[in-house]
Amino acid sequence: MTAVFSVRGLTKQFAGKRVVDGLDFDVRAGEIVALVGENGAGKSTTKNMLCGLLEPSAGQVLVDGVAVQRIQPQAHGVAAVHQELSLFPSLSVTENLCIQALPGHAARIDWAAAERTACEQLEFLGIEIDPFAIVESLGAGQQQIVEIAKALLSADRLLILDEPTTSLTAPEREKLFEIMQRLKARGVAMIFISHFMDEIYRVSDSFVCLRDGHQVGTGSLAGVARGELEHLMVGRSIDETHRELAAPTDDEAIRLDSLDSDDFAQVSLRVARGEILGIAGLMGAGRTELAEAIFGLRPCRGTVSVGGEPVVPLNVATMMSRGVCYLPEDRRTHGLFLNRPVRENLSAAGILRFVRRWLPGFGFRGERVEALRIVERLAISVPHVESRVADLSGGNQQKVLLGRWLATEPRACLLDEPTKGVDIGAKFDIHTRIVELARAGTAVIVVSSDLPELLGIAHRIAVMRKGRIVGEFARADFDSVNIISLATGAAP
């Protein structure tokens, strides 16, 4: 079969950094190619180039053997379902499905025809969603299905699915796979991006594996064992992140008793002082929601105890007063004050400490000195403490965020993806701080999608899937294959 879409030497650069470097693979008609790799490996960028949102910096994209400057989705019959849905919440399903190609002539939309198209499409796909329902009233899974249906309307030749099953229920997922098989029979090529090994092995014919922007493997999936594929994805030796840890104490620092909410169920955990507990799992498993709930940012049922005492009421103020801190996953939207100076970002959580005791309201004594001290300790690279945080690199920004919370001298830390989007050097530094923290007696919970990171610095790892803790591993029993299996839901 001649290749339908090919890439040769595909490269993309952002501000001098090669996010994707020299990719070389084909996608044939009726073939399902799994695009695998860790977070940050370059899958999103590759996907964006293949669906026309980005232009390559170097290399070629070929359609039927002919090189194109940039993919034109409508013309080339390409459609993509992105992780962030591209729907119109206040419009109906029919309107969402048909809006890019509304039937009828210039002055009048033929709604009858549009409704017919929508109903036909939903029927053909066997989806039971009311075509007149307003999208924002649908559940996340149903919205994802609408997005898929929309993409299918315009994808004749290539359909790209980016983590399409994160919000789907089991029956919905089955439906999706069934649809994919039908498309396959029709000769539509598909690129399937997923973290779930089960799904990958179930639907895909071949794979392309990315690591740090490079292509480290490609070919038919037949004959490639799962462990091999996982190894290809993760790649670097565990030793690089491995740290010597001090033994934790016996004092309980944080205890969760049957925490329950809309996003997670029956979560019970204990973390001792000086212990680092890693929480592994896939996106959508509810880890961030759990961390936010522990810190009091989200309502939940159940009890959170700090130092043996239940925290009542559970809110940010009381948790902070008990010495707990939380480093959010998305530092730009939830963590940093981008247009404020580094100094203010560092003191944001504990500004009261700098208020002069006998002369409140006369500035913040020692704030600048303290800022300099933190900058020094965490090796934050910034020309001046008055510089705006927005000007810093990702790694330095993360250090600022970390510095803010460390300055409060917490008894317990909740860190959500502490090294996401951070360069190697900063990552090393942050790991060092975390280990030091634990050594000094702080309890640390680290939520991370980076398994080698957890394997390297955690005393214990708890695995979450679909809102539940499905397993716990002590350091001596760390086994990446087992952990990944539990996280993705294969048989143990």
Binding site: I99, A106, F132, G139, T169, A225, D262, A490
Partner: protein, 345 residues
């Protein structure tokens, strides 16, 4: 929108509240005063509401795209000024009419172009143009009042087939707007842009063109409203149109249109305009001081916004519960993720 009864039901909900409120207030007023339910009073109410209602149709389109135009009062003023001046100097109704309508549309379009080109918030953009257009208008009239001749008055006082012209114009504008909103691409795109501008761009919708268009439409209907008002008042006075932008926005918001965009109805906006007039009418019947109108209007607006907020809380609670239900459901299907049975290797 569509012929499906379900969709109609959903669409209705947005303006249901203001419709109910209008009916309730009307009923109340009919008890308070015997003259309320007379034909001439009801007709008078509709005539009074017509200026606001016409402008509200245009404003609804703008707000649907998550924009806003607080310069409409100044556009109104400018249009009236231009018309009055041209009538005075040339005596040609056709010329004055054409010129002022064109100007109104162009001023609106300029607002749209500024928003699109410079990407400042519509609020600050139209705040600036409010000042500019107002200055231009007063400059045109040299701060004088200009009377308008009798024969122009038919726009505001005349009748066509027994129906007062303002009501006729209001109906025409409303129906045209309804068609545009429900049957043209402009209508769908406008709602889409307000619903999610990011998705609109990703779906390659003509965001910029539609944005300019809705502001132009706003200007156009403001032109019509300006002429009606001018005719009714009998001449151009310096205070014409002051504060009308807030009345129009209030009518649109009361009608159930969200300021955040993407959701709203024309029926609601027109009913909102009528409702506001009913309030004035009621206060008038009670012989209340005319200055009380503002207080009551402000209070009603606040009440409507608060109620809307509380009901939005309730709705988001429902959505969360749906999600939780599914989490539970998955547990019951099988103890774990069911693809375990299908793991191949």
């Amino acid at each position: 929108m569509s012929r499906n009864p379900l969709a109609r039901r959903i669409g209705r909900q947005k303006w249901l509240a203001v419709a109910a409120a209008t009916v309730a207030l009307g009923t109340l007023l009919s008890f308070i005063s015997p003259v309320f339910l007379t034909f001439s009073n009801l007709e008078s109410i509709l005539i009074q509401a017509s200026v606001t209602a016409i402008m509200a149709v245009g404003m609804t389109f703008i707000i649907l795209t998550a924009g806003i135009d607080i310069s409409v009062g100044a556009i109104l003023f400018f249009t009236s000024a231009l018309f009055a001046k041209l009538m005075l100097e040339t005596g040609s109704f056709a010329l004055a009419f054409a010129a002022s309508m064109l100007c109104a549309t162009v001023l609106g379009a300029i607002n749209g172009l500024l928003v699109v080109r410079f990407r400042l918030s519509p609020l600050i953009t139209t705040l600036a143009t409010y000042s500019i257009y107002r200055g231009m208008a007063i400059h045109l009239t040299e701060a004088q009042n200009i009377p308008v001749s009798r024969d122009v008055g038919f726009l505001g006082n005349g009748e066509l087939a027994g129906i007062p012209v303002p009501i006729l114009l209001m109906t025409v504008v409303f129906l045209a707007g309804l068609y545009a909103l429900s049957r043209t691409r402009l209508g769908v795109y406008a709602r889409a842009i307000g619903s999610s501008t990011r998705s609109a761009r990703e779906s390659s919708l003509p965001v910029d063109r539609v944005t300019v268009a809705v502001y132009a439409i706003g200007g156009f209907v403001t032109g019509i409203a300006a002429l009606v008002l001018l005719a009714r008042v009998g001449g151009l006075q310096s205070g014409i149109g002051i504060g009308i932008e807030f009345t129009v926005i209030a009518a649109v918001v009361l009608g159930g249109t969200r300021l955040t965009g993407g959701s709203g109805t024309l029926v609601g906006s027109v009913l909102g305009a009528v409702f506001l007039v009913l309030i004035d009418n009621g206060l008038n019947l009670l012989n209340a001081s005319p200055y009380l109108y503002d207080i009551v209007r402000g209070g009603v607006l606040l009440a409507a916004v608060i109620v809307d907020r509380l009901s939005a809380h309730r709705q988001s609670g429902q959505l969360l519960r749906q999600k939780a239900g599914r989490l539970r459901m998955q547990d019951s299907v099988s103890g774990r993720d069911d693809t375990s049975a299908l793991t191949g290797n």
